[in-house]
């Protein structure tokens, strides 16, 4: 897959990578290059956003021209930890999710705890992990009306995604459980429980 560099304003560049594995490699290459004018990089599902410092236009254009021919490192082992998150499967939308999927509660828990999910990236709110690996049988539509505030630690399913709400944000996912795991604590170092590339397993308690 050829990298495509798309403009994102005067001081940022969106690198379209095609897939998550290439995102990981491009992100690692950019971080190890330690370009002094780059403020930060923001990986997502199939893109890496490169955010530069004010006045970095020339450097940004040069990077956009050069990046497609960079040698990308192999990063099979970036992140790579496995984090187990204990979940009490007693969320307010549990019965709805069983009804929508046609699954029994036991089947739902078995399917949700089976995979090793991959943290694709963090975004939406501090410490929020975008996980890939949800069993398609668990996919359910989002709520018609999002909750104004989802309790921290809520475990939910929205579309073909699952995750844990770290802080009391609004949210439209259907809540199937809760965890005591603290996904974000600004006073902790590191502040986030997870980083991109980690594996997550849910365990019923």
């Amino acid at each position: 897959m050829t990298l495509r560099c798309l403009p994102m304003g005067e001081t940022a560049l969106l690198v379209a990578c095609g897939d998550l594995a290439t995102v990981r490699r491009v992100d690692a290459a950019l971080r190890s290059a330690e370009l002094p004018w780059v403020r930060e990089t923001v990986p997502a599902y199939d893109t890496v956003l490169v955010v530069g410092l004010p006045g970095c236009g020339e450097e940004l254009d040069a990077l956009a021209a050069a990046l497609p021919s960079w040698d990308l490192p192999n990063v099979g082992s970036v992140g790579g930890r496995e984090v187990v998150i204990e979940v009490a499967y007693d969320g307010p939308d549990l019965a709805d999710v069983c009804r929508l999927t046609g699954l029994t509660l036991d089947d739902l828990v078995a399917l949700h705890t089976a995979p090793a999910y991959t943290v694709a990236f963090l975004g939406f709110s501090p410490g929020f992990p975008y996980l890939v690996g949800l069993d398609p049988r668990l996919a359910v539509p989002r709520l018609d009306t999002p909750r104004v505030s989802v309790p921290p630690g809520s475990v939910g399913i929205g579309g073909d995604q699952t995750g844990v709400y770290p802080t009391g944000t609004p949210g439209g996912w259907r809540l199937i459980g809760r965890t005591d795991a603290v996904l974000f604590d600004a006073a902790r170092d590191p502040a986030t429980l997870l980083v991109a590339g980690d594996a997550v397993r849910f365990a019923a308690r």
């Binding site: 994102m8 969106l14 997502a44 893109t47 955010v51 975004g123 939406f124 501090p126 600004a186």
Partner: protein, 281 residues
């Protein structure tokens, strides 16, 4: 140590510095002053480093009283005030207009405890800094004693505000020219973004995989009514980004009051960068 007591907090006054760069990959918004150049100018006027924490005020400013003499400078839409000495025990009320917001610097800076190396109030995530309340006491740092006269930023025009955009990664989703499209700033606008009301922009539709976004990015939700992201926006978003407001015009975007008109206009990257370079001089 000099402290300021909040006699009246104003409408929505928050402690802000230049935000939390470097934490976007953890999902932590930049936050900070919505017009960082204005805060930096006010800080320069009272001898502070550009990133010292000050106050961001909205519509109605706070009333503050010091337990010793203190010095204030304020920067708003096209105007600055100070450096101005204020005597101990004498209440001082910050005037915000013209415009929607202004930034207050106090000699020595406001030294609330930093979180992730910043004193900015992240109004979206609800941590860091401080939202001012009656009788809060704000500790000040050491005054350098330096003072400067600083230039004002851009003023709001009399009529509608024109926001110039460079093409974004999904500009090809637009099915109508964006040039001249007129909108009204919606009441649900806040530090995360301007919600624009008006005739929807025709677009090709379709979802995108979530991407990293920057302040200034113009998202186009399915309803065709654009959202201009501001400094406290989420780090990632799932709507197509059709353009990015140039940095020079983003300073005005944060000053447009709900109900006022804005017009969108495409511009080239070279022109946008020239505007920014002029602003930095």
């Amino acid at each position: 140590m000099t402290t300021l007591r909040v006699v009246s907090p104003g409408l929505q006054t928050t402690v802000q510095d230049l935000g939390r760069p470097g934490h976007a990959r953890s999902g932590v918004p930049l936050a900070g002053a919505l017009d960082p150049l204005a805060l930096a100018a006010a800080n320069a006027a009272v001898g502070n480093p550009a990133g010292a924490a000050g106050l961001e005020c909205v519509l109605r400013g706070p009333t503050l009283v010091g337990d010793a003499a203190w010095t204030i400078a304020v920067a708003g839409a096209g105007w600055t005030l100070g450096p101005l000495p204020v005597a101990s025990g004498v209440p001082y009320t910050v005037r915000v207009g013209p415009g929607l917001r202004c930034w207050v610097a106090v000699a020595g800076g406001i030294e609330v405890p930093p979180v992730l190396a910043s004193r900015s109030t992240d109004t979206l995530s609800g941590f860091g800094g401080q939202v001012l309340r009656v009788d809060d006491v704000l500790p000040l740092g050491a005054d350098t004693g330096r003072r400067a006269v600083v230039a004002a930023g851009p003023a709001l025009p009399d009529g509608e505000v024109v926001l110039r955009l460079t093409a974004g990664p999904h500009a090809d989703r637009l099915r109508t020219a964006i040039d001249g499209a007129r909108f009204v700033v919606g009441a649900r606008s806040d530090r995360t973004g301007l919600r624009l009301d008006g005739d929807p922009l025709a677009h090709a539709g379709g979802d995108i995989a979530t991407i990293g976004v920057v302040p200034g990015a113009v998202q186009l939700p399915p309803d065709g009514r654009p959202i201009v992201l501001l400094g406290n926006c989420q780090t990632t978003g799932g709507y197509p980004v059709v353009g990015v407001v140039c940095a020079a015009d983003l300073r005005l975007a944060v000053q447009v009051r709900p109900g006022s008109a804005v017009r969108l206009m495409m511009t080239g990257m070279v022109q946008a960068r020239e505007l920014s370079a002029q602003a930095a001089d």
